[in-house]
Each structure stands twice: as C-alpha cells, then as structure tokens.
C-alpha cells in the first residue's frame, strides 16, 4: 500500500499538503521545526493513534478547534481511498472516502510499522512490551484477535477481584473457589487461543528472520510460555487447566493471577546469549530492525501487500551502517518515512529518496 499524499490541519504546528515518494521519504530539518509532527501525522492516519502521547487532544493546535489529517491511500493502480482522522476535543472521527467508519473497518485500510525510541522497549523493556509486540503482530493478521485479548484481560481482572477477597469462614472460601473456577474455565479457552496464536506468529517470524544480516552475530527468538517445563505444551489447554487447579491455593494466597499467557515472554538471544542482559545498545537496535523486518515480511506473506514503515530520529537511533542495511532491505518493499536532522543524508540516497525540508511546521520547496 502507498500513501500518496497527506494534508494536515491544526495538527500540532504543521499545516499543508505533502506529496510522497513511493519508496523513501526523508523528512529533515532543525530540531523543533516539526519533522516528527509530520511523521506522527502519518502514523496517526494509519493507526488512529500517536506514538508520542495517549491523549490525542494534546496534538490539536488550538483548544476547542478541529484538527485533521487526511491522505490518499492506493492499494494498487486502480484503488485509491481518501482516509481522514478528525479530532474535535477528545472526540475522534474516522472516515473513508468521506463516509464515517468504525475503528475496525478503518484500521484495515492502511497499516504502518514504526521504529521509534519507545519500540526499543520490545528489546530491553519488560516482558509486557514483548507480548505487546507479538500481539500487535498477530492482530495485524487476524483482527478478531484484539477481542480475544480484550476478553482475556477482562477475565483476569474479574478473577483478580475474587482473589483479593479475604475470608476466614471455610464456607465462604469454598464459594469463592467455585466462582474462581468459573472464570478459570474461560481463562483456559481464551488463553489457549492466545498461546497458539502467539506460538504460530513466532514460528512465522522465525522463518523470515534474517539472523545474520548484521554479520557479526546471529540472532534468535523463542516464545517462552510461563507453563514451560510444567508439562506437555502441545496440549496447552489441558496443561493450563491442570496448572490452574494445582495453583489455586497459591493464587488465593497471592491475591492475583499467577499463571496464564499474561506471564509469557519472547526470548531474544544473540549467539545464544540473552540480548536484554548482555547486548550492547547497538545490538539492541540491530535486533529490533530484524524483528521489524521479519514482521513486515510476515505481514506481506499474509496480505500480499506491504505496510508503511516509519522511523523517527534516525540519527539518534541508528549508526550509518545499520541505517544503510535497513534501508537496503526495505527497498522494493515498504514505502518508508524517516526523520533526520542530518541534511547530508539525502545526498547518500539521491535517486531513490525525496527529501522534505521542514521549517516552522511547513514543507519548504
């Protein structure tokens, strides 16, 4: 898919229209001029979210005003659709070709992968960040997975509330146990779906992972179930149900859910060593690039079209060699948008890239 153009109105300090290059777009300018705002606008159009803030109304230039980002997306030579995200206070409206759409219908129209400073959490952050990476990936293939996850989290919340109750009367304890079992029953069904979806996704990533792209070291990933070593993972449903029975007492003692897919992790190693613990920050970045490239290939294999790739502040995030390797890999695949304060970068990619100089929010021609 291609983002042909983008028009913004009242989004942060930027205004105007940009016509994009189908291959590589370099958005450059001095700090504070608004490069990242343009990238954020592209990301907003694709995901209806920002990679910088949870509260979108922060991005609306004047309080109580309307802001919008609008762009034409082409899926192939003959299909062009105009997408628009409009913000009015805290209210977000999504339209496709001028017609209002639900979030679910809208999100199928444009897909973007982002490489931002936050994304590095996938490598060096908590297991939760890695589960999020996997869940985003699965959801990019199966939209209904979002509901499975939401239901699972809801069940965990309900169950935790029961686990927090403190009783001394044995009669009450057995009543609570009975209710916990009810929620465990759903937890097993939903957790099993999540487990299989993530394992399958990690298998797909592994097939596409270009382990030694960076030469020096070999990267590998593995899904680590919190039930690993406790029994036969192949029959996850049964194992999960059994473990919940065995651990019921311990969970009641702890006051929260101790087992389930919300305790799983993605193990990332280089040369068989833990990347999170032993990797340098350069190696962290290499691994994130490899994961993103693999995710993009998995996305392509499923949808038969490439998502967009956006990367903020390449100077801070990547050295020249990693950047070259990444952009080389993306060539012929994604439409790519990167921001940089290094004006010379455009000379290295002349012929392939279009450079956009941002001054005071506007594109200088």
């Amino acid at each position: 898919m291609l983002l042909k153009n983008l028009e913004t109105y009242n989004w942060r300090n930027i205004n105007g229209i940009a016509v994009w290059n189908p291959d590589l777009n370099l958005i450059y300018g001095e700090n504070g001029q608004g490069k990242t705002n343009w990238l954020e606008a592209i990301y907003l159009l694709a995901t209806t979210k920002s990679f910088r803030t949870q509260r979108l109304q922060e991005g609306v230039k004047y309080d109580n005003h309307t802001a919008f980002v609008r762009g034409t997306v082409s899926r192939n030579q003959n299909i062009h659709r105009e997408l628009q995200v409009t913000l009015q206070g805290a209210v977000k409206t999504l339209t496709v070709n001028g017609k209002r759409e639900t979030t679910a219908a809208y999100l199928g129209q444009l897909h973007a992968y982002a490489f931002t400073a936050n994304e590095l959490d996938t490598i060096r952050g908590t297991p939760e960040a890695r589960r999020k990476f996997l869940d985003r990936g699965v959801a990019s293939l199966h939209q209904s997975y979002v509901h499975t996850l939401a239901d699972y989290n809801r069940v965990v919340k309900q169950k935790n509330r029961l686990l927090q109750e403190k009783f001394t009367d044995p009669n009450d304890i057995s009543k609570i146990k009975q209710q916990i079992e009810i929620w465990n029953f759903q937890l097993v069904k939903l957790g099993t779906e999540i487990h299989h979806a993530r394992v399958e996704y990690v298998e797909k990533l592994n097939e596409k992972l270009r382990r030694d792209l960076f030469g020096a070291e070999t990267y590998a990933i593995r899904y680590v179930s919190s039930l690993g070593g406790k029994g036969d993972l192949a029959d996850y449903e049964r194992l999960f149900a059994t473990r919940l029975e065995v651990r019921l007492q311990a969970e009641m003692q702890a006051g929260y859910s101790l087992i389930g897919t919300h305790r799983d992790d993605l193990e990332i190693t280089f040369d068989n060593r833990s990347l999170r613990i032993y990797g340098s920050s350069g190696q962290h970045r290499s691994a994130l690039i490899l994961l993103d490239l693999a995710a993009i290939d998995v996305y392509y294999e499923w949808h038969q079209e490439y998502p967009l790739f956006v990367m903020d502040d390449v100077d801070a995030e990547l050295d020249a060699r990693r950047l070259s390797l990444l952009l080389q890999q993306l060539e012929g695949r994604t439409q790519t948008f990167i921001t940089t304060s290094d004006e010379d970068l455009r000379h290295r990619f002349t012929g392939r890239a279009t450079a956009y100089k941002i001054v005071a929010g506007c594109i200088e021609l």
Partner: protein, 204 residues
C-alpha cells in the same frame, strides 16, 4: 451559590441519577420539563409512580409484570418443559420477538461480575431450582434449560455457573449458539461474528 434555583437544581440532580444521563442532558431534559404543559408533566410523573406501584417481579420467573404470576408463567399455551434463562427483561423481549420460542423464561436481573460486586447471591437464582420439580411447575417436567445470557465474558461466566449448578440434575442444558445473523449478507458480517461462526461450523 447554586447555578439554578432550588427546584430546577433538584430536578437536574434527579435526571443525573438515571443511567447514561450527564450534566448536559440533565439540564436539557429539565428545561424541557419546564416548557411542558402541566397536564403532560402530571401524566408523566403518574406513569412513573404507576410503574413503581403496579409492576412487580413475577414470583416464578422474576420477569417484570403487572399480574403475578406473569402472563408467560400463567399461560397454559406455553411450553412449560422449556425454560430460557436471560439476564434482563429486555433480553426476554428480544427472544420473544423471534416468535419461534414457545417456552417460559427465567430472568436473572444481572450477570456475574466481581469487579461490579455482583456475585451469584445477587442474581435471582434462588427460585430456579424449585421450578424443576413437576409439582411446582403445573405437573410438567422441565426437559430443557436454554442459557441465553449475553455472549460477553460476564454472560459466559453466568452461563457456566448455572450449567454447573444444574449438572447434578438430569435436565438437558443448552447454550444459545453465537454466529451469524440469519438473513444477513456475508458482506456485512463483522470479523468477530464471522470468526465465531466459522469455529462453530457444523457438518451438513
């Protein structure tokens, strides 16, 4: 100081107690009431009082009714061997609109939700088990109980709770199927519904 005079503020506050009504809507409604003819206001407030005075829970099925037992429970033309369990009276209305269900009902008035403080004791379940004895059910044996709670996590939990409760008894318990709305174009079926319909597929 109050923004509005005392009677107006009181009315706005009362409207705000209603579900889904915030400050703005409450103000709009209150000002609408002030513009209404006195006779209309009287009819409206009488209707509210009457509903409160005359509508009771059916002793048998907990449906809201003006006669006790309700019109379903006292109707000999309904199939008393089949009980459909729903969360709310308006869910009963949805089932009834299909015109294909001829059994009787049981209304729970809620679904299990620990985070909202709703435990099994808060559901209207106490009068369900006695109904399964023929002597309490017009000498009719209950053959099937249909669990028609909502297809969300709370509705599922409620359904499995009741299913366990009924397990020791030899009554058939079924759960309504979640799938595609009949008569709808595949094109308009959302992905979640389609997903459920696919996983609940059967051989023909």
């Amino acid at each position: 100081m109050l923004e509005y005079s005392e009677p107006v503020t009181k009315l706005i506050d009362e409207f705000k107690r209603l579900p889904g009504i915030g400050q703005k809507s409450a103000q709009r409604l209150a000002f609408h009431v002030m513009r209404m003819a006195e006779a209309d206001v009287e009819r409206f407030s009488n209707a509210m009082m009457e509903v409160k005075r005359r509508i009771v829970f059916c002793d048998v099925c907990n449906n809201l009714t003006d006669v006790n037992p309700c019109r379903f429970c006292s109707n000999p033309g309904r199939d008393h061997s089949m009980i459909c369990i729903v969360e709310e009276p308006f869910n009963l209305v949805s089932v009834e609109k299909t015109r294909s269900y001829k059994g009787v009902y049981h209304v729970l008035h809620g679904s299990l939700s620990p985070i909202r403080g709703i435990s099994p004791d808060d559901l209207k379940l106490a009068n369900l088990l006695p109904r399964l004895k023929p002597e309490n059910n017009n000498d009719t044996e209950v053959k099937e109980i249909i669990l028609a709670t909502n297809p969300n996590t709370e509705g599922e939990a409620t359904a499995s709770y009741i299913a366990r409760l009924l397990k020791p008894l030899s009554v058939k318990v079924t759960r309504i199927a979640m799938g595609m709305p009949v008569g709808s174009d595949l094109e308009y079926v959302d992905e979640v519904t389609m997903d459920k319909a696919l996983s609940n597929r059967h051989e023909i």
